[in-house]
Symmetry: C2
Amino acid sequence: MIMNTQFKKGVLELCVLVILDKKDCYGYEMVDEISQSISISEGTIYPLLKRLKKEGLLSSYLKESSDGPPRKYYRLTDSGKEKKEKLVGEWETFSKGVNNLLNSKNEELKEANDE
Amino acid sequence: MIMNTQFKKGVLELCVLVILDKKDCYGYEMVDEISQSISISEGTIYPLLKRLKKEGLLSSYLKESSDGPPRKYYRLTDSGKEKKEKLVGEWETFSKGVNNLLNSKNEELKEANDE
DNA sequence: TATAGTACCTTGCATTATAGAATACCTTGT
DNA sequence: ACAAGGTATTCTATAATGCAAGGTACTATA
């Protein structure tokens, strides 16, 4: 899936928080989850998870796996849940604003061109 | 209007192209136009316009003004129009993907939690 | 003269996604 | 035992991009 890199900035953080709000996940698993909707690579998710943990939005714990090295599961903290709510709201406002520009520009500009 | 900076990455280019597809504009004017939907500052728009012109998506011409210095109007080139169409499509795919993650996650995860 | 509004431009900074490479574990085939 | 490949984590270096902060210059008003 080819996708505009720039669009993703900041949104991936939102996606990670939303997914972790539903269930605990490890990084490799999250790449799969998110990839169903947005293209993403491992080199992106691990630094992101590390950053979010450092900011106190996530906690983590290790769990052994039957087929590979142990998995590091991440869980939302309370502050992570707050942040998630905040980001979801911001995303809705933002995407509405963009769609506003994309669609409703036609009418407004008729007058502007009537000079 | 306070707004997540990261969400804007790449989207502002789309907004500029969409607006210029409707009518020619100068930078200062575009800040007003876009600000109705998304917060943006001058320090953002001028470098952006310069870059888009350099990439051949925009052409520009000067026009005198009665109340201030001459205005530099920008106009979409053919290649700019192509780029605009492409970006609009990418935005729609992308925002659908994000909303997908935000909303339809509930059902899919019931099974996942049934272990 | 001074102030404010319009309009443009540049520099430097912070943020973030990504590719690429390294490490380590397990399973399967030879 | 060995190699190959999939799973899983991590780090480094790089490229984009938005923005604040500053500057220039023109016009109108007080």
